[in-house]
């Protein structure tokens, strides 16, 4: 098995190559730029046969992936921060069209090039699956798994996998590169479920008409049939007045819920084949007998492991919940954890201005219905790329433990480092 000391961006490029993505939309933005450069080299050398489209902007990048995916390509693009915000419009469309596009997001804050998670978390309404990585190995592995999750017929939703800008994108560490044959066994070639082909068009429409018209007039409320979301590329059919499209959101939400199981299955299978797995939606690290746990996403989870190990050496019963999937949100898992611990300290590398930490809100909500709720504390750390040190997370864990043992707390989040 090959391994190399590589930066996170290279790990992304390797994932794309091994997954045999064949349509890459490339637009540069710091700190993602080298991803498209590596891919450009792979394509130019012939190592990766693909259509490499050097687009003129991020919206075009995403929409090219969307339409290419519908036509039958396994599509990929990457972006960061401002580019993702600009692309936001297009993200909604890719998700709405049930196109299994995979995108790497090198997390970057707003109005700075340094990392935080606000860029991708701000897209939580788009219907994309969001997976966060804590080291470059996980980045490579997740990139491959992303396609399997996205293309699963129970899901068919686009997947974004994230890595912290600079901290992972430009930091080199040893990464094992899976063998192509093994990846081919794990990830079959992609076929679009409903390609827009002239010769099958009439039949497709007849099929749709059979279900859709149901003998009603064109302006009457339309009753969806199961599997109707498959015809999402025939959007124009249901744009008339009187057509109730609320069901579309419901269908999408249900697919997101189904994705939870699929993400876990794919992770387990990956572990069996490649020897590495990441817990599915989240990983519990030393939480078995914990009184208190802290929650972190991305590289903050990696640093948190050091803190947990240190404190465990001192006999303190603390654990880490490494949150990998923010969408779909693993509320059942958190509910289960909430039954076992007295306090949860959530570290948000993000903020929803006017309310608070995004992960904090989700965790609190997940445990609310428990008979005996754990206390949930919130912390902001690392926003706009501020460095987060072991000692900072230690403070979080120590305080969470204190609260677990009866200390006072309220719902105001603490700003680490001010």
């Amino acid at each position: 098995m090959k391994s190399e000391v590589m930066v996170g961006n290279k790990a992304v490029a390797y994932a794309v190559k091994l997954a045999r993505a064949n349509l890459i939309a490339a637009y540069p933005i710091t700190p993602q730029t080298t991803i498209v450069e590596y891919l450009s080299d792979f394509v130019a050398s012939g190592e990766l046969p693909a259509e490499f489209v050097t687009v003129e902007g991020e919206i075009t990048a995403q929409l090219v992936c969307l339409s290419g995916s519908i036509a039958g390509a396994r599509a990929f693009t990457a972006t960061s921060g401002e580019g993702l915000l600009y692309m936001s419009h297009a993200l909604h469309h890719t998700a709405r069209y049930w196109a299994p596009v995979v995108m790497a997001v090198v997390n970057r804050s707003v109005r700075t090039m340094q990392p935080d998670h606000t860029d991708l978390l701000a897209q939580r309404e788009t219907g994309w699956i969001q997976l966060y990585c804590e080291n470059n190995q996980e980045v490579l592995d997740t990139g491959i798994m992303a396609y399997k999750i996205a293309e699963d017929e129970r899901v068919r939703l686009p997947v974004a996998f994230a890595l912290d800008g600079y901290v992972l994108s430009f930091t080199a560490e040893p990464v094992t590169i899976p063998e192509q044959e093994k990846v081919d066994g794990f990830l079959k070639p992609f076929k679009s479920l409903y390609p827009v082909l002239p010769e099958t068009w009439d039949a497709e429409l007849a099929e749709y008409k059979k279900h859709w018209q149901q003998g009603k007039g064109i302006n009457e409320p339309f009753t969806p049939f199961p599997g109707d979301e498959n015809f999402s590329h025939l959007t124009m059919v249901s744009w008339g007045k009187g057509h109730d499209l609320q069901w579309r959101w419901r269908a999408h939400h249900e697919a997101m819920m189904r994705a939870k199981k699929v993400i876990k299955e794919v992770d387990e299978e990956y572990g069996r084949i490649f020897g590495r797995s990441y817990g599915g939606l989240l990983e519990e690290y030393r939480c078995e007998d914990a009184e208190a746990v802290i929650v972190a996403m991305g590289t903050l989870a990696s640093t948190s492991r050091v803190v947990i190990d240190n404190m465990r050496k001192q006999g303190k019963r603390v654990g880490l919940v490494k949150l990998k999937s923010y969408r779909p949100f693993p509320d059942e898992e958190f509910k289960d954890i909430g039954k076992r611990v007295k306090a949860i300290g959530v570290i948000d590398r993000n903020i929803s201005l006017g309310e608070g930490g995004i992960v904090y809100g989700s965790v609190r909500s997940a445990v609310y219905d428990l008979e005996e709720r754990p206390k949930v504390l919130g912390y902001y750390a690392g926003l706009a790329g501020r460095e987060v040190r072991v000692r900072d997370i230690e403070k979080v864990a120590e305080r969470t433990l204190k609260v677990a043992r009866g200390g006072e707390t309220d719902s105001t989040s603490t700003w680490i480092g001010g």
Partner: protein, 298 residues
């Protein structure tokens, strides 16, 4: 160069289904019908927000994206995707309104042209954002009344010139750029049939009268299109590879622009000086085009 055609050369096969809910006398419907008649059924069509997706019952796979700025991106993605699955034979054609071409779609258009994507872009130009009720676009001609360039005390219609997109695209040196009009279906079809055999980015800008938005009688749609060509307001030409230019219709003498303008409600307010100004610009433009005719430009 496109070869001359007669009405008998137009195929009988209809590539649209009847019964579309467009306005009476919609020029865009005619554009859609003639374009796809010429392209045939082995094509795919892309549309974005505009009147088109709501009304053109075209019998080819349709990719409609409400991302208004995304026409070029959708066409690129489809074209590349078809290539990947070994179906480069499918003609990817976009039927895009002027808004999605000259304004919000302009970035994408230029990008796709510069990359020489293998697609055919058909702009049906009704010279405003008609789908949303008739607001001006940068394709609206100078002096025209629209809902955002009204005729009132402080405003006398659009104050800036119409953006000349065909020439801008010619400077991108794409394989084919042409203007066309529904009043000249043989000329339009000849151009489409010719361009269909080429590879790379092909662009056609088609005049598409809109009775609802222009305040015209539905029955006059073709008449207005014809008068606009015959007065030089809408010259018909083609440019190959951004170099070789040819006027495909040369009336011996141009009709006065007032004939085309006076039947349109959106020009009802024009004073004599304004008509004279339009006449001057049109005559000048025509002379310039005559000078370029048959030559290598740019």
């Amino acid at each position: 160069m496109s070869k001359k055609m007669s009405i008998r050369d137009l195929r009988d096969e209809e590539v649209v289904w009847s019964g579309n809910p467009a306005c009476q006398g919609c020029g865009g419907s005619i554009v859609g019908r003639l374009v796809f008649k010429a392209l045939g059924r082995n094509s795919a069509r892309v549309e974005v927000a505009s009147c088109a997706p709501g009304f053109m019952n075209i019998r080819v796979p349709s990719f409609f994206g409400p991302a208004f700025e995304g026409a070029a991106a959708f066409m690129t993605g489809l074209s590349r995707g078809y290539k990947i699955i070994g179906r480069e034979d499918i003609v990817v054609a976009g039927l895009i309104g002027d808004g999605g071409t000259v304004d919000i779609g302009f970035q994408g258009l230029s990008g796709a042209a510069e990359r020489n994507e293998n697609v055919m872009w058909f702009t049906y130009d009704n010279e405003a954002y008609m789908n949303t009720g008739g607001q001006r676009s940068s394709a609206t001609p100078e002096h025209a009344q629209t809902t955002t360039t009204p005729i009132a005390k402080m405003s006398r219609g659009k104050t800036s010139e119409k953006k000349n997109v065909p020439m801008i695209l010619a400077l991108h040196h794409v394989p084919y750029v042409a203007t066309a009009s529904i009043a000249y279906p043989e000329d339009m079809t000849a151009k489409i049939v010719y361009a269909k055999e080429l590879k790379g980015f092909r662009y056609m800008h088609i005049f598409s009268p809109c009775p609802t938005g222009w305040g015209t009688d539905p029955k006059d749609t073709i008449k207005i299109a014809r008068l606009s060509v015959e007065s030089g307001l809408w010259p018909l030409y083609e440019i190959l590879d951004g170099h070789h230019m040819r006027l495909t219709y040369k009336p011996r003498e141009l009709k006065p622009v007032s004939e085309a303008l006076k039947v349109q409600g959106r020009f009802r307010h024009l004073k004599d000086e304004e008509i004279a100004s339009i006449q001057e610009t049109t005559t000048e433009n025509w002379s310039r085009l005559l000078a370029m005719d048959g030559k290598d430009i740019f």
